[in-house]
Symmetry: C2
Subunit: 384 residues, 2 copies
């Protein structure tokens, strides 16, 4: 049905009406006092969201561009970097490091499980010559629905002493606590179309003083992604290059909404939805790709739909109930569906998605569950 689409994918995520309205405002000049007033508020709110007193910069780019900024500003050709690899996005960051001529060491872990922090600790402890310049971590791995143990990894990196932590927080920021300063994270990258409740097109990068120190000697070439240019202009509440003005209008409203809900309430909501979706999936007799509850992403749940064909289930939900789920990527294509529960998602949305999932499974001839079993399991979690 036209205009009825419900996004339950891990990005883009649903956007509130008030944010959509702000997007449609007529642009103003980005070198005006009025725009700087907006940017000043945005910069302040971004620090709140990142739980940091350090710089959080705004770039016009999607998540991959932001992660690239996280690499090129702090490293030099030949620098050794560890990349924690247990999913498609983590592998992209490793490929990016290769593209920039870094000495990329992949710490591989099985997809669908959190990376064992011990493997990273061992690699870092063995590096007595301090050749490792950075560890790249994908906090919430969107391709598998796994959350890695960032807090523990950050502790091991701090113990190393010199390596920077470069974190892809694209689907974790705004869904779970990412206390940058408390954990001593150095670079935290995120993008607007996720926990921010915004359309895509803006990216954010938080930078620690230790990372800025590394910037001074980093030799990878950069210009548009040169973060020092952004830092200089942020002081004047602006950006070095023309920003995506209308997305900034929306961002201001979205951040205001997030502050109004409160970070504890936001994190609790995401936890509740993750728990409810997982309980429902189990109750209807399907399997979770990330089996360990402790490794389950608050943003997205990957479901092994066997014996139902994943793409058939996804099409059914799209066609009959106007609900978009995500499919599997790369080797997971056709094997899983991914249910996004990130950003502007309410308890009602979870019930809706599970109801439609139940109905679709039944209509596709899958009869291994008592009708209402999924809804009942989800409801109990939502009420808890």
């Amino acid at each position: 049905m036209k205009d009825k689409l419900m996004l339950m994918i891990p990005g883009p995520t649903p956007v509130p009406e008030s944010v959509l309205s702000a997007l449609g405002r007529h642009p103003i000049g980005h070198r005006s006092a009025d725009f700087s007033t907006i940017m000043a508020q945005v910069f302040t709110d971004l620090k709140w969201l990142h739980q940091t007193i350090h710089d959080v910069l705004v770039l016009t780019a999607s998540g991959t561009g932001i992660m690239e900024a996280g690499i090129v500003n702090f490293l030099s050709p030949g620098d050794r970097v560890l990349v924690c690899c247990n999913g498609k996005f983590a592998e992209r960051w490793a490929d990016m490091c290769d593209a920039y001529g870094l000495d990329t060491v992949r710490i591989n872990g099985p997809w669908g499980e959190a990376l064992d922090p011990e493997t990273v600790r061992v690699a870092l402890e063995a590096d007595t010559a301090k050749r490792i310049k950075a560890v790249v971590i994908t906090h919430s791995e969107t391709s598998t629905g796994v959350i890695n143990d960032l807090g523990t990894l950050a502790r091991h990196i701090k113990a190393h002493g010199t390596a920077l932590s470069i974190v892809d927080a694209v689907t974790s920021l705004g869904a779970i606590s990412v206390p940058m300063d408390e954990w001593g994270l150095d670079v935290v990258a995120s993008a607007s179309q996720k926990g921010y409740m915004m359309p895509p097109g803006l990216g954010f990068i938080a930078v620690s003083p230790k990372a800025w120190q590394a910037y001074e000697t980093a030799k990878l070439p950069k210009f548009y992604l040169d973060l020092a240019k952004y830092r200089t202009e942020a002081v004047h509440h602006t950006t070095p290059f023309t920003p995506s003005i209308n997305l900034i209008f929306g961002l201001q409203v979205a951040l205001e909404m997030m502050k109004s809900e409160g970070s504890d309430a936001i994190f609790a909501r995401h936890h509740r939805h993750k728990t409810a979706v997982r309980a429902a999936v189990r109750a209807v007799g399907l399997s979770l790709y990330a089996q360990d509850d402790a490794a389950a992403s608050p943003a997205v749940t990957a479901v092994i739909t066997q014996p139902v064909a994943a793409e058939r289930l996804r099409s059914h939900l799209r066609k009959h109930f106007d609900i978009a789920l995500a499919g599997g990527q790369d080797s997971l294509e056709g094997k899983i569906v991914r249910i996004g529960h990130l950003g502007f998602v309410s308890d009602r949305d979870i019930l809706t998605a599970i109801s439609a999932l139940e109905a679709s499974l039944t209509e596709l001839g899958y009869a291994s569950f008592a009708p209402g079993a999924g809804i009942s399991a989800a409801s109990q979690c939502l009420a808890a």
Copy 2:
């Protein structure tokens, strides 16, 4: 007055109501068939606008990011590039070439005049060893209101045989004809907040087969800006990284409007407005920074406001008439105002701006013109 701002700056430019409405639509998944249908239309329309049968790719970045894509995809460290330098933006591209370790040769020309194509011809003809790999040209120099003679420059570059033409068409595309294939241009970069009648946040880059050939051996590192990734996905009507979905919604509408008006009508309108603004400025006794009519940009007119202080005039127009003009940049700060007449600007807007300019000059005590002289001169040009 709140919500009354009229943008007469060279970007962001005014945005039509129908484009603003499209921006506020709820996002859909960028990996969906519905989105690919939109992208297919957008790619087709972009080729029309660029007068090319070759690839025109869409990136989430502002103009500087797009120009960087034009550099890093086709060149290797140490490559010699000529940069035509007669304004602030041209200098930015030279700085960017330096940042990437290119052998940057600046062909300097006076600001406020078109660069003499002969200086480029001589430099290219002297290069018998064919060490020059590219010539970077700013077609319409937004900082000075000058248009460079791209057609002639392109001829000289073709005569050289190996050098690529890399063109900043940010404020020329959609304002004046940029016949990519006819002129044999290799790389043409532009951005949404200009002739496209859109807010900022999207960039476009057209690439010739000769440039793709250079891509094969180009060694500058890239990932987010790696255009081969975009070319591969464009075949499937999509992008390699999450696009700025809501801006694409607006772009589709804006391109439809442009096609409906027709390119000849669009170019004639910009020519008419440029002529009218210049006639009015002369009629009120002020000076044009770009004095030669043949070198006048169709997008923006820089006005030397002496004896009136430029920033005082600009503030007056902003405060009393809700009209935003641009100021001077770098060495021109405080010396000029720049009147944008680019994109969604009608004859009425030109009359409005000139009326307000006349009124402001009078109110600021400047009395060197007969009341109505500017309006009368502009009207005659608009009627012609």
